[in-house]
Amino acid sequence: MADTAKTTHPQPAGRPEKGAEFGYVGIDAILEQMRRKAMKQGFELNIMVVGQSGLGKSTLINTLFKSKVSRRSVMPSDEERIPKTIEIKSVSHDIEEKGVRMKLTVIDTPGFGDQINNENCWQPIMKFINEQYEQYLQEEINISRKKRIPDSRVHCCIYFIPPTGHCLRPIDIEFMRHLSKVVNIVPVIAKADTLTLEERDFFKQKIREDLRVNEIEVYPQKEFDEDSEDRMINDKIREMIPFAVVGSDQEYQVNGKRLLGRKTRWGTVEVENTAHCEFAYLRDLLIRTHMQNLKDITSSIHYEVYRVRRLNENNTHPSDQPNGHSNGVPTHEVLSHEM
């Protein structure tokens, strides 16, 4: 038998001193151990891009990861046809930087929003996302599980808004309303070099207004802020979304430096110049600061919601009322907005 634990707070005698081992236990070496383990295992990231054709999705992904990772680059004989129905195409790449290996999967959705009748255009995408959750759930409930369950869940969905300058279109609202409940959505204004700064600000304000009115929570979601520090950082980001981006994989000479940009007769738009467009902020958000957070929210919130719903489905009979799960935990009443 064991007694229940009581928590006490003794202070370790002494601080870590250089050279003398006296007083230093070495607990903080665990950080180094974790880092080593992470480097050995590598990381996985799954990004989905959604938007009408011609909005520069593939170019943006190539610019984000500074390599030819989009679907177009992989299929050399891709005819520029618009598919009759929405297709979901995913491409995986192994990229490495300074010893850190990452398996990046880009999921493209050609055909979205391109038909004449776009009703329920979000359904195939929703189905795909749920399929990934389903796959992970199946692996997780196996009796003999793999050491590392391969994670194919969509961590982030970048939604491209055409730069009309007015407000969100019904298809945008519909899509984001349905999908913001199952995946992290990052809306961006595509081809933002067609908007002046004032038009851009006005457009952004309208978009934020539309999102608020329709109760759409895009990433970073207010409800998942962990502490006040997080909230401060995320509030700053929330003031800037949607990011107005320009993508390019061509380099031009500007002021003696080679920069990525778009060259026109009246000037060169520098992609990474924050005065020109907000690509750098998007990249920092997605890759340099919030990548782990995106994965965490996907696995501990979106996936758990899916899992609860799935496990409840099998517990309720049409004839009974919902009663307890076999291990005695009461089932969670599924709210309508979770369906």
Partner: protein, 431 residues
């Protein structure tokens, strides 16, 4: 609509693509580490060994703090496990350390069941984690992990070989927890004896098939040091929280009349090696092994025991759900059956009681009838008697009136002789 995967190579499963500039995801390990630092770490150590081998002192020395109270007595009736949780902090790392001590191990006369409480404890922690994982609404990321990550097994410094209690206990524990055997109070053994002792212990462990924890050698940065340390197992340690002045430094040591054993001197004992391996190099690996090997084994056995099986390649999906369903139906069926049984028993009891009561009622009625009859008989008798008495009274009255009449007639006729004769007649009438 089809989800297709294009460009997959056979071996890798993905293309290797070179980057043409700095993307920035090399900060991923930092992001991961930051998240873990915010979250805090937890580590659980189980110390198994006979009373008086210096387990608590060694923990104090390892973590450089005075942990808990007094040394335990030797008269415990059975083996118990006492667990305490402490929060330690070093620079920005917060560690929730749980130390579980086996109390009374090896003190009983009959030690056959000594290992059982320990195995039960370890299983209880696994079970708690499994229950949390199987819940519908779960909070795994904020769950306080109490599974035992490392078991330090303290061997008595006899100098000869392992005791059979040690062998039996370690054999029972090796598939459930990472065992690190250490020789306690090793300042009781001389250097040459120690080398022989270590060899004997290792060979006994191998010949009995006990799997102790091997420090991992697959990562090049630590492979070398780990493989050297693997050769030094079991570690011969000395623990002390008292400080002695050696030269001009204060060091942790044990002072004897013939010399001083310095705890952190590698020539004197293996304490530094233990601390290095347990904390500074392999803490994360110990946690990982516990989760991926020992916990998975427990989970697999437990679920198979409960009747769940994995899917066949072409069987229906969600066999876990269906088995849950089947189990639930079975359970509900059993409940219903029990309910039926209880109801029937209840009905039967009621019937019995009813019969009993009817019996009693009948008896009462009979008694009542009897009494009534008795009563009536009595009444009749009394009435008869009354009647007879009434009759007698009537006869007497008649006779009295007749006599009075005769008397008056005789008076009228006059003659005392007739009176006399009447008197005589009267008297003889009355006799």
């Amino acid at each position: 609509m089809a989800a297709t995967e294009i460009a997959r190579q056979a071996g890798e499963g993905a293309r290797a693509v070179p980057l043409s500039g700095h993307v920035g995801f090399d900060s991923m390990p930092d992001q991961l580490v930051n998240k873990s630092v915010n979250h805090g770490f937890c580590f659980n150590i189980l110390c198994v060994g006979e009373t008086g081998l210096g387990k608590s002192t060694l923990m104090d020395t390892l973590f450089n703090t005075k942990f808990e109270g007094d040394p335990t007595q030797h008269n415990q009736p059975g083996v118990q496990l006492k667990s305490n949780t402490y929060e330690l902090q070093e620079s920005n790392v917060r560690l929730k350390l749980t130390i579980v001590n086996s109390v009374g191990f090896g003190d009983q006369i009959n030690k056959e069941d000594s290992y059982k409480p320990i195995v039960e404890f370890i299983d209880t922690q696994f079970e708690a984690y499994l229950q949390e994982e199987l819940k519908i609404k779960r909070t795994l990321h904020s769950y306080h992990d109490t599974r035992v990550h490392a078991c330090l097994y303290f061997i008595s410094p006899t100098g000869h070989s392992l005791k059979s209690l040690d062998l039996v206990t370690m054999k029972k524990l090796d598939s459930k927890v990472n065992i690190i055997p250490i020789i306690a109070k090793s300042d009781a053994i001389s250097k040459s004896e120690l080398a022989k002792f270590k060899i004997k212990i290792t060979s006994e462990l191998v010949s009995n098939g006990v799997q102790i924890y091997q420090f991992p050698t697959d990562d090049e940065t630590v492979a070398e040091i780990n493989s050297t340390m693997n050769g030094h197992l079991p570690f011969a340690v000395v623990g002390s929280t008292e400080e002695v002045k050696i030269g001009n430094k204060m060091v942790k040591a044990r002072q004897y009349p013939w010399g001083t054993v310095q705890v952190e001197n590698e020539n004197h004992c293996d304490f530094v090696k233990l601390r290095e391996m347990l904390i500074r190099v392999n803490m994360e690996d110990l946690r990982e092994q516990t989760h991926t090997r020992h916990y998975e084994l427990y989970r697999r056995c437990k679920l198979e025991e409960m009747g769940f099986k994995d899917t066949d390649p072409d069987s229906k999906p969600f066999s876990l759900q269906e088995t849950y369903e089947a189990k639930r139906n079975e359970f509900m069926g059993e409940l219903q059956k029990k309910e039926e049984e209880m109801r029937q028993m209840f009905v039967q009891r009621v019937k019995e009681k009813e019969a009993e009561l009817k019996e009693a009622e009948k008896e009462l009625h009979e008694k009542f009838d009897r009494l009534k009859k008795l009563h009536q008989d009595e009444k009749k008798k009394l009435e008869d008697k009354k009647k007879s008495l009434d009759d007698e009274l009537n006869i007497f009255k008649q006779k009295k009136t007749a006599a009075e009449l005769l008397q008056s007639q005789a008076q009228q006729a006059g003659g005392s002789t007739t009176l006399k004769r009447d008197k005589e007649r009267k008297n003889s009438g009355f006799l």
